[in-house]
């Protein structure tokens, strides 16, 4: 008996290993023209794993605290062997992860994978997106450089504009009235403990749900397969889809390495809270569309503060977006059309406002 078989028997006698692994072996993935979109979720997961690994490595040398943070990142970039690589990969993978998360979300909308029974998968995915944005916002401050300091100042200032709870929320985020070393400590805590814990939980929930329901098939393909069942094609997850997924992950790894070595992430200058804000403060690209929108809203609409209106509108839009699956069956075909329309509008708006934000500088 080979070692592998012996190990399997050992596990089976204790955990009914064969029963646990059995469904996984039988898992299949639908094969059709749009199958490639299935990779996006996995790539996002891969990038998250990269983040956890490089994040742990960075933790070995990073020192939180206004007087040491910048110097420690500089130390990592210049003195630690391959520190520049680990840090640049961490920064690039963060941005790529958010990009693929957005792409994954929009592919789910346009391929209608949110439909019953997968509503909770959608909701858990939305929570994961917000957690990813939280990772991005908290992590951006950690090198304690000028751009990050002022971007955090502006970002938390906007949070303060939320009606009723805004001010308390802002003080909670900042650890005080202003952005100080206390903010850095707090963001560090969020970034390495709170957010990873929550994300792990929700990733497990999300994956479990995906496993449970299997891969969704786009409605057009579904209809065709119903009429001609012989056209339906499935691929075994192990090893066929898994190998393909591995290919995709390797390509993503190659892209990451290339970006880290050719376009290394810059360090900037150490934050000085008493210096005036430099020109051209802007948030990271994934917040740009919101930032640009708020900038363009006039200072006062009727009697309400322009920024507050913007925040409320985004809040409402976010809520509608989260509840998208529940509109699907509404009003016959109208619910569906509404969701499609909302998806197209959201995508176009985000892209347009992001470019606008950069072009306007």
């Amino acid at each position: 008996m080979s070692a592998l078989t012996r190990a399997r028997t050992w596990l089976d006698e204790r955990f009914h290993w064969a029963d646990l692994v059995g469904p996984l072996k039988k898992k299949t993935v639908p094969v059709h023209r749009l199958s490639y979109w299935y990779f996006l979720g996995g790539i996002t997961l891969f990038l998250f794993i990269i983040q956890v690994c490089t994040g742990i490595l960075l933790l070995l040398y990073y020192r939180p605290g206004a007087n040491e943070a910048f110097e420690s990142v500089q130390y990592i970039m210049t003195r630690v062997q391959f520190g520049w690589l680990v840090r640049s990969i961490h920064s690039w993978a963060a941005n790529l992860m958010i990009l693929t998360a957005f792409a994954h979300m929009f592919s789910v909308v346009f391929l209608r994978a949110y439909r019953k029974p997968r509503e909770l998968t959608w909701l858990s995915g939305m929570v994961l997106l917000f957690l990813a944005l939280g990772f991005g916002f908290s992590g951006y401050l950690l090198p304690w450089n000028t751009l990050a300091f002022f971007a955090t100042k502006v970002g938390t200032e906007i949070t303060g504009q939320v009606p009723v709870v805004g001010r308390h929320l802002m003080i909670f985020l900042r650890g005080g009235e202003d952005v100080t070393g206390a903010t850095l400590t707090r963001f560090f805590g969020f970034h390495v403990a709170v957010l990873p814990g929550l994300t792990t939980l929700f990733v497990l929930i999300h994956l479990a749900l995906v496993q449970y329901f299997g891969m969704s098939v786009p409605p057009g393909v579904e209809a065709r397969w119903k009429t001609s069942p012989q056209e339906a094609r499935q691929m075994k997850f192990f090893p066929n889809f898994f190998l393909r997924e591995l290919m995709a992950w390797y390509i993503a790894l190659g892209v990451l390495g290339a970006l880290a070595a050719i376009l290394p992430w810059e360090l900037g200058t150490k934050a000085d809270p008493f210096a005036p804000a430099p020109a051209g403060i802007r948030p990271e690209w994934y917040f740009m569309f919101m930032f640009q929108t708020l900038k363009k809203i006039p200072a006062k609409l009727w009697f309400v503060d322009g920024e507050v209106v913007g925040i409320l509108v985004f809040g409402a839009a976010g809520l509608v977006w989260m509840l998208l699956p529940f509109f699907d069956k509404a009003g016959g075909g109208r619910g569906r059309k509404f969701i499609m329309g909302a998806g197209v509008f959201a995508l176009a708006y985000i892209i347009a406002m992001t470019f606008y934000g950069y072009a306007a500088k």
Binding site: V31, R233, M235, R244, G257, A261
Partner: protein
């Protein structure tokens, strides 16, 4: 208020004298306890409008009295009047010239503020403007035989720039070099002393140089010959050159020993300047490729300091000394250039490493692709 009166109670309220408790009667005399016209009684010492020729003595009544001034500000000087008498203004005034400046012309009269107040006409930032009221007025200054372009020239100078743009209140204005109450142009022999109050090293080197004796015997006023007095521009290396800005060649003959010394010093400066710029360029390229060179960037400051030092050493007019400073700077700049080049070769090493790992990744991806094809070519998908 009646039209002839030039000041209101409100205006006077901003005056430092009013704030210290003085009234109109303190200077104009009269009896403030009486109402109406009775207050302006000659018997009570009413002077009416003070004549210009009485102003210095009137102000001096209090301001030259240490015992009196002590009750208001013990550290305030009380020699302004005696100083004034030594000044060009004071001497002409004593001869009966009433066009010259008296106390109120510079300090104001009814809205007088202390010199430390930024609104005061004698605050460092405002002094040049105040002096220019007469000294830049060609018509007013007719007959005195001095130029009226000082204010215009000063306005373009590096000292004015330091004062108004950089906000450096230690930068010189008119009174710094000419004195305030004892205002007089420094004599030819003392210009160097005035400049040397701040520019210590240049003065020390010049003192020990050959030019000191030469200038003295020619009756030339030290620093001013090369740097001018009011329109002092930021000096460039061109001053040592052969072009329109060259100062050496105003006296020296082309080709003589001094000309050669000049050329040697200029070459030294150029060498260091080039070295600093070369290092800066490489460091820029390294930085924009993402390499961390902040230490070398910082050390460039030291190289630039050496260049500044070399430019000061020019005033010794000894190329050997200049060369010492140049060498020091060149050494530092060379080290920084080296650091930049090391950073660039490290960058290239990284890119090669990346290339290699990309090759491995590509092989793996290709392997996966072929393996999948193989797997699925002979077995139908589940």
């Amino acid at each position: 208020m009646d039209p002839p009166l030039q000041v209101t109670e409100q205006q006077f309220a901003s005056d430092i004298h009013a704030q210290k408790g003085l009234t109109c009667a303190s200077c104009h005399g009269g009896d403030p306890t009486k109402a109406d016209m009775d207050a302006m009684s000659k018997a009570a010492g009413f002077r009416g409008k003070i004549d210009r020729k009485n102003v210095p003595e009137l102000c001096g009544r209090c301001h030259s009295d240490p015992a009196f001034m002590r009750q208001y500000n013990p550290s305030l000087r009380t020699d302004q009047l005696s100083q004034y008498k030594t000044s060009v203004h004071g001497r002409l005034f004593a001869k009966g010239d009433t066009k010259v400046a008296v106390c109120i012309d510079c300090h104001g009269v009814h809205g007088l503020r202390p010199a430390s107040d930024t609104r005061s006409s004698v605050h460092p930032l405002n002094i040049a403007q105040t002096c220019s009221r007469c000294h830049a007025d060609a018509n007013y200054m007719k007959g005195y035989g001095i130029p009226t372009d000082q204010f215009a020239k000063y306005g373009a100078s590096v000292h004015h720039d330091a004062l108004t743009v950089r906000g450096d209140l230690s930068a010189p204005t008119c009174t710094t070099c000419h004195g305030n109450h004892g205002a007089a142009p420094p004599g030819v022999d003392s210009v160097q002393n005035v400049c040397s109050k701040c520019h210590v090293f240049q003065d020390q080197m010049f003192e020990k140089s050959t030019h000191k004796a030469a200038f003295q015997s020619a009756g030339l006023p030290g620093c001013v010959v090369c740097h001018s007095n009011h329109g002092i521009a930021h000096p460039t290396d061109e001053k040592l050159g052969g072009g329109p800005q060259a100062v050496c060649m105003q006296c020296h003959t082309p080709g003589d020993f001094c000309d050669q010394q000049r050329a040697a010093m200029l070459n030294g400066l150029k060498k260091l300047d080039d070295a600093v710029q070369a290092a800066d360029k490489v460091l820029s390229v390294a930085e924009s490729s993402g390499m961390e060179v902040s230490q070398a960037r910082l050390d460039q400051d030291q190289a630039r300091d050496a260049l500044t030092k070399a430019r000061v050493t020019i005033h010794s007019f000894k190329p050997a000394l200049v060369e010492q400073d140049v060498q020091e700077g060149v050494k530092i700049a060379a080290k920084n250039l080296q650091a930049g080049q090391t950073a660039l070769s490290e960058r290239d090493y990284r890119r090669k490493g990346l290339g290699l790992s990309l090759v491995f990744i590509f092989i793996t991806v290709l392997g996966l692709f072929l393996y999948i094809r193989q797997l699925e070519s002979h077995a139908p998908k589940a």
